[in-house]
Symmetry: C2
């Protein structure tokens, strides 16, 4: 098969390139940041994010300064969410192609999911849900497949078992991505709800912040179980109001991703929450963690979406107050715990 071009060589993009190369797929990677490109060329790996993991020889690192044209028909997008729009504007949009979106998160200003940003930039937005459909291909834009699910990069790179989703309105494209990525230790299920998958994947980071805060406050495992349950319920309500399928949130991009992210010391969102719970101020914790913490901007987007469709998000609302209004974590928790009691 033609080479696959991976845009974005953070931990996840690099891991997916390594995974494909190990399967015998020809891969090239490019990153906007020249230091990141140099690191990959020099070290053939990412010593901090992926210690002990080397790029197979067959992975080509593209060194162009400007966004390079893709080397084949398949594009894998793995840049940070705030960089996707810029990247897409630099890519030629013509020709039949398969777009695989591995970038997670919502665009902060617009609250769009990554496939909605893609549709927006490529001018092929479908009214209603804003998601590209199979027929986008007729306009010169290939089908879009979202790759998501519980997948901490380091574990995948280490060959530990994972199960993820290839989600698309185009069944054949989802099946193609399933075949492309599947291995014994990397199981790929298909889904027909890319929008729900993207929402679940993004919004779970808000609950991971909350779970981290609870852990920082020393609240224990019962509180964690309750928080994840109620968090899942509010994400599901919001997703359903926005047009996602409610059952998507019970799957790998909902429950699964949430469990992995909320209970892992490798999750940045959880770590940030834990620091806040212990009383560290936001600025200090963010600069100490020193990486993008998607959950912070996702909390803002979640609250905007919640206002837009009139769905109450008790947990996200309290996280917003902690992050942006200086409310103490213990006080926000107290508010959550003293809401009126109801039916489940």
């Amino acid at each position: 098969m033609d080479p696959i071009t991976v845009y974005g060589s953070g931990a996840w993009g690099t891991t997916l390139a390594i995974h494909l190369a190990r399967k015998g797929q020809s891969v090239c990677v490019w990153d906007k940041d020249p230091r990141q490109r140099e690191r990959l060329l020099r070290d053939r790996g990412l010593r901090n994010a992926l210690p002990g993991i080397s790029l197979p020889d067959s992975v080509e690192v593209l060194y162009e300064e400007a966004v390079p044209d893709p080397r084949g028909e398949v594009i894998l997008l793995a840049v940070p969410s705030h960089g996707l729009r810029w990247l897409l504007k630099g890519l030629p949009a013509t020709g039949p192609r398969l777009w695989i979106i591995a970038t997670k998160g919502l665009e902060e200003e617009t609250c769009l999911t990554m496939s909605q940003v893609l549709a927006d930039v490529l001018g092929d937005r479908v009214p209603g849900d804003g998601v590209l459909r199979d027929d986008g291909r007729e306009d010169g834009v290939g089908p879009v497949v979202v790759l998501a699910g519980p997948s901490l990069a380091l574990e995948v790179a280490q060959g530990k078992p994972s199960a993820v989703l290839a989600a698309s309105h185009d069944e054949a494209a989802a099946a193609l991505v399933q075949r492309l990525f599947s291995g014994e230790m990397f199981r790929v299920y298909t889904s027909g709800d890319p929008f729900g998958v993207e929402l679940g994947t993004a919004l779970k980071n808000v609950i991971a912040l909350a779970a981290g805060i609870a852990d920082g406050l020393g609240l224990g495992q019962n509180a964690r179980g309750a928080l994840l349950t109620r968090g899942l319920a509010e994400i599901r309500r919001l997703g359903q109001a926005l047009g996602a399928r409610p059952e998507t949130f019970l799957g790998l991009a909902g429950v699964g991703d949430m469990v992995t992210t909320c209970t892992s010391p490798l999750s940045r969102n959880h770590s940030l929450g834990e620091a806040l719970g212990r009383g560290e101020p936001l600025e200090g914790a963010l600069s100490r963690i020193g990486m993008v913490v998607e959950g912070v901007r996702t909390t803002r987007a979640a609250c905007t979406l919640s206002d837009r469709v009139g769905v109450e998000l008790p947990i996200a609302g309290q996280i917003y107050r902690i992050l942006f209004q200086g409310v103490r974590p213990a006080e926000a928790l107290h508010e959550l715990m003293t809401r009126p009691l109801r039916q489940e």
Copy 2:
């Protein structure tokens, strides 16, 4: 209010007695085991299971050898699942009463839930679902409320926050139990699906065993997220086929209890699984843990139920092979990971 009589003073029964007493409720507890009664009388607590926690003075320990009659109108059942039938046979079944079931698990020989065992013994089984209804009261049997959800006893005793369910076909009875137990750190939601709540609470122990095994094998957080997701799906399929409401499994007695149990070092099911995953033989691990591990008998019951209604349980099936057929955990996992790929 009249005293509440708690039958069974293991960690959970004792914790609930303490919780009620702290709320000013008059409580008495009884245990079948004379050593357990002596421990409570002498130490006013359970040093091993609930270190640092004392019975409030207002908790009365009943010392009768035979099953004592309840001291008031409300009975709280917290004996181990295999002891409930025996206990109920020793209790007078007449008079209007509120039965609160805090015992978790399925009866191994019959695969009945605890409220079904109660209905069976008290001769008031409703055809169809086997669950007592409100009208049971007319026959001299009061309404039944199941109390369940993510609630590690030690954390509740320590006053850490929890959220649980009071589930009953009798709304008024569920609301009464909600008022009886609610406190700022112990939130009680009501549910109208006691059967689903009992099933979720019991079956999650099978998934906790699986999660423990995965941890013992060092499979990581991605595998845990995938396992819980697929485990939830199979529990939900089975529950639905048996007549439970599918949404119950998304709530505190499904997702919530599963998250707490599968990620806690305090869970015996998880600990047993971890030992098995590390290669310890079942007998040795069971005698070292030295307490009842509900998940072992629940795995057997789950597989029986699965045969009965023809619902496939891939995870429970592999756990069965590990527990009862000597299959190595790594091999059982390999089977799970190489099943044909499908839609989620």
